[in-house]
């Protein structure tokens, strides 16, 4: 277990270093940030002075080490437009994105488990295939598109819910419904696929032969085995969830990280974009580390191999 933990931790460190290096290299490809910060009529002397004060005239290696050192102290440079710490601005917006993603995940996952168990217990093939068809159809619709269609129906036509902003609990309904249905579709398909495989296995047949009720077999015997691989997928899927949420924030004008990053691209405020992506990558790596550890605790085969 110790060896497993250490090897996973080492991988995290390498990944974070690589992400930071990638962000640094890309920043050098954006062209000269000084030209963007200064007005058009600035003289060459002004430009040189600004370059010097920002340390852009030093050797690349020195700049790189400086950047990495700063990153470990939580300093990813200042926003060009707002002059404040880029990481600070990004962290400030993070909760708004996480609350959206987390609520959607919890609701979607719970609903998927309930639907899969109900469909399996009922034994109805028609119910199963209908759910499967709905899940596939939902997965074919990109989140932003589903969000707009919900707005069209529930805000524009029916006038029931607010279309944009984050003002009341009602404004959570449409964005959460968008991402939650996406999550339901994913986990429903995964759990059902696992049920399909285990239905004819020995341990299920034995339980049935002992006279265990159908519902109990599904909940106590089949479900725990089905959930094990789902944990790994959930960790990997977090990336898709975050990506979808980032784009969805543009639909609902949600004051989250995604809108800040996209605004950063439009404003050519690279430090904001950089800080946002580094933060999300670090979060993503941390969550996947937790998932790996959880998996190793739950399944001895992983930590012993």
């Amino acid at each position: 277990m110790v060896r497993f933990t250490v090897s996973r931790l080492a991988r995290i460190v390498v990944t974070v270093l690589a992400v930071l290096t990638f962000a640094f290299v890309l920043a050098r490809l954006t062209g000269d940030p000084v030209r963007l910060m200064l007005p058009d009529q600035a003289t060459q002397a002004d430009v040189d002075a600004a370059r010097h004060s920002l340390g852009l005239d030093r050797p690349l290696l020195v700049q790189y080490l400086d950047f990495m050192g700063g990153a470990f102290r939580g300093d990813l440079g200042d926003s060009i437009r707002q002059g404040q710490s880029a990481l600070g601005l990004v962290v400030e917006r993070l909760p708004n994105t996480v609350e959206l993603a987390l609520t959607s995940f919890v609701i979607g996952f719970a609903l998927a488990v309930v639907l899969a168990v109900v469909a399996e217990t009922s034994g109805s093939r028609r119910l199963r295939s209908t759910l499967m068809w709905l899940a596939t159809a939902r997965q074919a619709i990109p989140p932003y598109l589903f969000g707009i269609l919900l707005v069209l129906v529930f805000s524009v036509s029916l006038g029931l819910l607010p279309a944009i902003g984050r003002t009341s609990y009602a404004s959570f309904v449409l964005p959460v419904a968008t991402m939650a249905t996406f999550e339901v579709a994913l986990y429903l398909r995964l759990i059902s696929a696992s049920f399909d495989e285990s239905r004819s296995l020995d341990y299920v047949r034995t339980a049935r032969a002992k006279g265990v009720s159908r519902g109990r077999i599904v909940v106590r015997h089949m479900l725990p085995n089905a959930l094990l691989p789902v944990i790994t997928i959930a960790g990997i899927n977090l990336g898709v969830l975050m990506g979808g949420t980032v784009v969805l924030e543009m639909v609902f004008n949600w004051p989250g990280l995604g809108r800040l990053i996209v605004q950063g691209v439009t404003d050519r405020d690279y430090p904001i974009v950089q800080a946002g992506v580094v933060l999300i990558a670090v979060l993503f790596v941390a969550v996947n580390f937790t998932v790996d550890m959880l998996y190793a605790v739950l399944d001895p085969r992983v930590r012993l191999s």
């Binding site: 074919a140 989140p143 707009i148 707005v151 524009v156 543009m250 439009t266 974009v273």
Partner: protein
């Protein structure tokens, strides 16, 4: 006589086509219908008279579908013909998606086969690169790349291609790893076959079918990503119409002319749905065999 035979032949062809369609899964029929509609819009519309996706006519702006004789599906806020914009947007999305899938497929095949064949440090390094890349969500990775490098359509194809190779790489590698231990590979090596010969003549043909199935699924994924980027304004840039861009424009007119959102949305659903159901049908047929 010849006319009669042609008629007869076309009738039997039609019958065998219906029989084939009835025998196929209903989702495959639906998917085929969707893709046929998409193909018609992409191929036929540009040849219709008066279809210019760029010409503006403010006098006839914001026409609803089926209300104007010269614009079948109506016009947008600048009076541009919606049907021809849909046609060009769909074509752009498809070209971008196929180009990107091709790039990722070639890249993934090359990296995966080399890693699986050589193993050792090179393998560990290449798969490490894949892990690092997966630690940034694809959409975000593309947003950073666009922020740093800008977004022309060609650049977009390349960036989409470079960010989606990992899936192909892993599949190609895992098949190569299991194949390199097999007798036929040992035999080729013993007979003096070089590494390049084994990889290109023996591993590649065995990997291709799996990769092709993955690619079919990926077309839908890439179209989703591209249209999301274009929707938030970081993908295909105006004035070139794109499906995501059309929806972003139309979002401002949800109250007055919902067709500006609904029609491109339908188009995206038909493209992604059609591709997904067809590739699903193909892969189940293959696994059944």
């Amino acid at each position: 006589m010849t006319q009669a035979t042609t008629r007869l032949r076309s009738r039997t062809q039609a019958r065998s086509l219906t029989a084939g369609l009835v025998g196929a899964a209903p989702s495959l029929v639906v998917a085929t219908v969707m893709l046929v509609i998409v193909a018609l819009v992409v191929v036929v519309v540009p040849f219709l008279p008066g279809s210019d996706p760029y010409s503006q006519d403010l006098a006839s702006a914001q026409r609803a579908p089926f209300t104007s004789g010269s614009h079948l599906l109506g016009t947008d806020a600048l009076g541009r013909d919606l049907l021809s914009r849909l046609s060009l947007a769909t074509r752009t999305s498809l070209v971008v998606a196929f180009g990107a899938v091709l790039i990722s497929m070639v890249l993934g095949l090359a990296i995966g086969l080399v890693a699986g064949w050589r193993r050792g440090r090179l393998d560990a390094f290449l798969m490490g690169v894949a892990d690092v890349q997966l630690s940034i969500p694809v959409v975000l990775l593309l947003i950073v790349l666009v922020a740093a490098l800008g977004s022309s359509t060609t650049l977009l194809v390349v960036m989409l291609g470079l960010t989606n190779w990992v899936g192909y790489g892993r599949v190609a590698r895992s098949i190569a790893v299991s194949l390199r231990e097999r007798e036929f590979v040992t035999a080729v090596t013993a007979a003096g076959g070089s590494g390049w010969w084994v990889v290109s003549r023996h591993l590649l043909p065995n990997v291709l079918p799996q990769i092709a199935i993955l690619a079919a699924f990926e077309v839908g994924t890439v179209i989703t990503i591209e249209s999301s980027l274009s929707f938030i304004g970081l993908g295909i840039q105006p004035p070139t119409p794109s499906l995501g861009g059309l929806i972003a424009d139309g979002q401002n007119y949800l109250q007055t002319n919902p067709a500006l959102v609904v029609l491109p949305a339908l188009m995206i659903l038909m493209v992604i749905g059609g591709v997904q159901f067809v590739s699903q049908g193909l892969s189940t047929r293959r696994s059944r065999r």
